[in-house]
């Protein structure tokens, strides 16, 4: 796949369709993948990679990239295309300046997950249908995907691309992978148990802002957390209340707009399952307003900003006993 992508990117660069390519490149270690913009074929040859570590959702980077001159090529995995549509709906990116190529994804892993399995000295990765084949300085080792996939990939909502100009490889289907199971478990807890669960998780937060910075729904010109006038701007959480509030406010801000791409949990250095907060909103929206997937289409009126006569009455929320 990496070869196909590289060839197509070079073609589009050389025929002038695009003047930049948004893709991935390795950092100091092969598993330290960062998004990167390539401007020449030489740069592509030197740095462009696509492998089992390339989890980053590139759609958010288009907000800044499409302000620049010329068209940019972007590679989008199925889950990234939902974010892409949502950004288009919110007029945050300029479709005219983008050439989007859909690429297949069979789930991603991370250096951390592999290291936790005792694999060290990683120098490369390849994959087949069920396994990651990891090259290390000690030789090759094979890990079953079922054991090494990111949480968001285990509960992947869709292998179908909902937006693209062209597609490399086969398009997939929308999946039913029980992504709300953990939310249901939390809902079944008593309020005290649930509070204890979240206190344990959120107390780990070091306010690094990685979740906000990576989130494709967090593209405000000025974030409320950076705006002294908002009354909630702080750089570090002063107490447990503020630890909670940061994440709760963020979840509210992206409610109805979050496509459940899972970037927040992927980048959290403290492994807080932040996606569960967003999924709770998504589950509630589905139950109260009918199934809705943010980003499935461009320009749809989201349930939370669209009043209809069939909308649920507040009393229903009481019937659910606040769950």
């Amino acid at each position: 796949m990496q070869g196909m992508m590289l060839n197509r990117a070079k073609e589009l660069l050389s025929d002038g369709t695009v003047n930049r390519v948004l893709g991935w490149q390795a950092g100091e270690f092969v598993y330290d993948i960062t998004p990167a913009v390539f401007e020449t074929e030489e740069e592509l040859d030197a740095g462009f990679v696509y492998n089992g570590f390339c989890g980053n959702n590139l759609s958010k980077y288009l907000v800044k990239e499409t302000l620049k001159d010329g068209k940019i090529l972007v590679f989008l995995k199925p889950c990234d295309t939902y974010s892409f549509n949502q950004l288009l709906t919110e007029h945050r990116i300029d479709r005219e300046k983008i050439c989007a190529i859909g690429i297949p994804c069979d789930g991603k892993t991370s250096g951390e997950m592999l290291k936790a399995k005792g694999i060290s000295g990683i120098t490369g990765i390849s994959e087949d249908a069920d396994n990651f084949v990891v090259d290390t300085i000690y030789g090759q080792t094979t890990v079953a995907k079922a054991d090494a996939l990111e949480e968001r990939c285990k509960t992947c909502k869709s292998k179908k691309h909902v937006a693209y100009d062209e597609l490399l490889g086969e398009d997939g289907e929308i999946l039913d992978s029980h992504r709300f199971d953990m939310v249901a478990k939390l809902e079944a807890m008593t309020p005290d148990e649930r509070f204890a669960f979240w206190r344990e998780q959120l107390s780990k937060c070091i306010r690094c802002n990685a979740c906000r910075n990576v989130c494709p729904a967090c593209t405000c010109e000025q974030c409320v957390f950076d705006n002294p006038k908002s009354g909630i701007a702080q750089k570090a959480a002063a107490d447990s209340f503020e630890e909670n509030m940061f994440h709760i406010i963020r979840a509210f801000h992206v409610a109805g707009r979050c496509t459940d791409c899972g970037e927040c949990s992927r980048v959290c250095p403290q492994n807080i399952p932040l996606h569960l907060l967003n999924r709770k909103f998504i589950k509630d929206i589905n139950e109260l307003y009918g199934d809705y997937q943010a980003g499935a289409e461009v320009g749809t009126r989201a349930p939370l900003t669209n009043y209809t006569q069939e909308d649920v009455e507040p009393s229903i929320v009481y019937h659910r006993e606040g769950k």
């Binding site: 709906t89 919110e90 007029h91 945050r92 405000c220 010109e221 000025q222 409320v224 009126r301 989201a302």
Partner: protein, 665 residues
């Protein structure tokens, strides 16, 4: 920090009885920024207002807090008072310690504590208040009336009388509405046509009034004083300017079996028709669903017989664009469909009819030329049963939960007229209770019972079953005599509930005017602003707002006209300065606010911004039209970045109030 004056009102004993006003003014005097605090028996009185004015001058107050009744009551009074001594009126806040405090508490200690907290919140808000200036917007001196029934006609006539241009949009080929189908009117029994048709003619002849008949609203944009409206004038295939209304075509058209909606399908008309003799405009219309020429290109007879050459088979719908300062909704009502009421057998027998059908059967212009005959066999009915509340006051879900208001009176009228004309007829009326408030109404009903010998029976009809011999069996209970009745009737008349016209719902969406769950338009205030919609510039006339008889409709129609005139005489409107404002530097251009705005006040513009690095960047940002914005604040909640804020009710002001309330003392 503001220099704040606090004025606590006793409201006689309304507040002072459950709130220790002295304690409140003493406590609030200690709040930061408060330089003067007092209490007085009637703050809204002239002496009270002078107290405030003097304090503003003496202490150089920059902010004022009044602890009194609801701001809906006297906020305007107090704002005017402070403005007269040079303080910006929006630097005054009212803490409601009457409706939300003294009236709902019994314990003085609790009431006093709460009054202090409410005062403290208002003080916290005033600290963040900024002087606001009201803007201005021009007024187009022309009104639009939607619906040409008696409500629309009366409103249009009154507005035209005051010298303003009015357009009436009527979806049917003629104006006149339901009243044209009614025979006599209660409680005076004058003929409906005799009192209505002169008004219809007045409309047609008034040079200030323009009638768009056979037309519907297509699009409404804009705001109070400046609406842009697109009207779709449907093709009637007849040139209105040429047609003389001679009616020759309507007698020659070979398509004879078109159900006549004017007589509720009880007789037939032709494919080219004039609804009735006094139609305004008196112009023929071709029904494209039945005309053979329009459907198959064969016939053309009407064009041949038309001496004026008015027939135009190629006529197209025409879209007219016009600007208006005010819009009056007068879309009226319809009887409900009775297909859910099988127990009354409406669909089982031709001789079970609705009250409106009864009107046509007794009307000289109706299918029987005014002789009361059974629709099934054309014989005189000798026993007639009237059933009231069919679908009204119905909480089962089949009908309507409300009282349709007009049925008691028209049923009394029908019963009385039947006994008057056909004294050999037995007339039964089944009722839940008879509602006859109104001038000369109860007297009218008593006449039906006492002078005309109508059998009024308290109780509901359980079942209406047509028999093979043509009789209709009516089974009912007489609640007062506590017995079951079985009546062999010849005719059963059902007083069907009335509901708003089906066109009202999409119209409300177009106008962003609110409706209740029954699709009646909501008034701005049930008691104090009954003819205005909460959406500025939209007014309500007649049964579109709730069930009404003719006298009520005409009163409300004139009231709506008075409100419209009051708007149109102004050259400019002062706009409410408490409107939303977008901080363009923070706006993402995401459209969340635009989607939730119920008034269409938010648009997006591409604006050039200078960036910190001295480059420029075009960004899509929200722009609020202050003349359209009603200050509801929905956008401020939807805005993900906090760029949208409401002047006078900013997020920071509301948070300051909440903080003040939650503060522990």
């Amino acid at each position: 920090m503001q220099k704040i004056g606090v004025f606590v009102c006793w409201c006689g004993s309304n507040i002072a009885q459950t709130v220790d006003v002295q304690a409140v003014s003493d406590a609030l005097a200690k709040e930061p920024g408060v330089v003067y605090s007092t209490n007085y028996q009637y703050m809204c009185s002239e002496a009270g207002q002078n107290l405030i004015k003097d304090a503003v001058k003496e202490y150089g107050l920059t902010g004022v807090v009044i602890c009194s009744c609801s701001p809906r009551m006297h906020e305007a009074t107090f704002r005017k008072a402070v403005a007269s001594v040079g303080l910006n009126p929006y630097m005054l806040e009212v803490a409601n310690i009457r409706e939300q405090c003294s009236w709902i508490h019994k314990d003085k200690e609790v009431g006093t504590e709460k009054a202090i907290i409410l005062g403290r919140a208002a003080i916290a808000k005033v600290q963040l208040n900024a002087p606001l200036q009201a803007g201005e917007s021009p007024v187009v001196k022309r009104a639009l009336v939607i619906g040409g029934g008696i409500a629309g006609i009366q409103t249009a006539l009154d507005i035209a009388e005051a010298g303003f241009e009015v357009d009436i949009v009527e979806k049917n080929p003629t104006i006149g509405g339901k009243m044209t189908q009614i025979d006599k009117t209660f409680p005076t029994l004058d003929c409906a046509a005799c009192i209505l048709t002169p008004k219809m003619v007045d409309c047609a002849q008034n040079e200030k009034i323009h009638i768009y008949s056979y037309s519907e609203l297509k699009e409404v944009k804009g705001f109070v004083g400046n609406f842009s409206v697109k009207i779709n004038k449907k093709a009637r295939y007849v040139d209105e300017n040429k047609c003389t209304g001679c009616g020759e075509c309507t007698t020659k058209c070979p398509m004879k079996n078109v159900p006549n909606e004017f007589n509720l399908g009880m007789d037939n008309r032709r494919a080219i028709y004039i609804p009735f003799a006094q139609a305004v405009p008196k112009v023929a219309t071709i029904d494209p669903n039945y005309c053979n020429m329009l459907k198959n290109g064969k016939c053309g007879l009407c064009a041949k017989v038309c001496g004026a050459g008015a027939i135009d088979y190629k006529q197209q719908d025409q879209v007219i664009e016009e600007k208006y300062g005010a819009i009056v909704v007068a879309t009226g009502y319809n009887p409900i469909k009775l297909d859910k009421f099988d127990e009354f057998g409406y669909s089982l027998s031709k001789d079970v009819i609705t009250s409106l059908e009864f009107e046509r059967l007794t009307n000289a212009a109706g299918p029987t030329s005014g002789t009361l005959l059974r629709p099934s066999d054309g014989k005189h009915p000798h026993t007639i049963v009237f059933v009231q509340c069919v679908g009204s006051r119905d909480t089962s879900g089949c009908g309507k939960p409300y009282c349709s208001k007009i049925c008691c009176m028209y049923t009394a009228k029908h019963a009385m007229l039947t006994r008057e004309k056909y004294p050999d007829t037995d007339v039964y009326v089944f009722y839940i209770d008879v509602r006859s408030p109104g001038k000369n109404y109860d007297e009218f009903y008593r006449r039906a019972v006492e002078q005309y010998g109508v059998h009024y029976i308290k109780g509901m009809v359980g079942k209406v079953a047509p028999r093979a011999d043509g009789k209709i069996m009516v089974q009912a209970s007489d609640l007062l005599a506590n017995e079951q009745l079985h009546i062999e009737a010849d005719l059963v008349v059902l007083a069907a509930a009335i509901e708003p016209d089906k066109s009202a719902r999409p119209l409300a969406t177009m106008l962003t005017a609110s409706m209740d769950t029954n699709d009646f338009f909501t008034e701005a205030h049930a008691k104090l602003r009954p003819v205005e919609s909460p959406t500025a510039g939209i007014f309500l006339s007649g049964a579109c707002q709730g069930p009404k008889d003719i006298p009520d409709t005409v009163s409300q129609a004139s009231a709506a006209a008075a409100k419209v005139i009051g708007l149109l005489v102004k050259d400019k409107l002062t706009t409410n300065p408490c409107v939303a404002q977008s901080n363009e530097l923070m706006c993402n251009g995401c459209s969340s606010c635009e989607k939730v705005c119920p008034y269409g006040a938010i648009t997006y513009i591409d604006k050039e911004f200078r960036m910190p690095d001295r480059t420029t960047r075009i960004r899509r940002v929200a722009s609020v039209n202050p003349a359209v914005c009603q200050g509801c604040g929905a956008c401020t909640v939807a805005c993900p970045s906090g760029a949208m804020d409401l002047k006078g009710f900013s997020n920071s002001q509301i948070m300051a109030e909440v903080d003040a309330i939650c503060q522990m003392k």
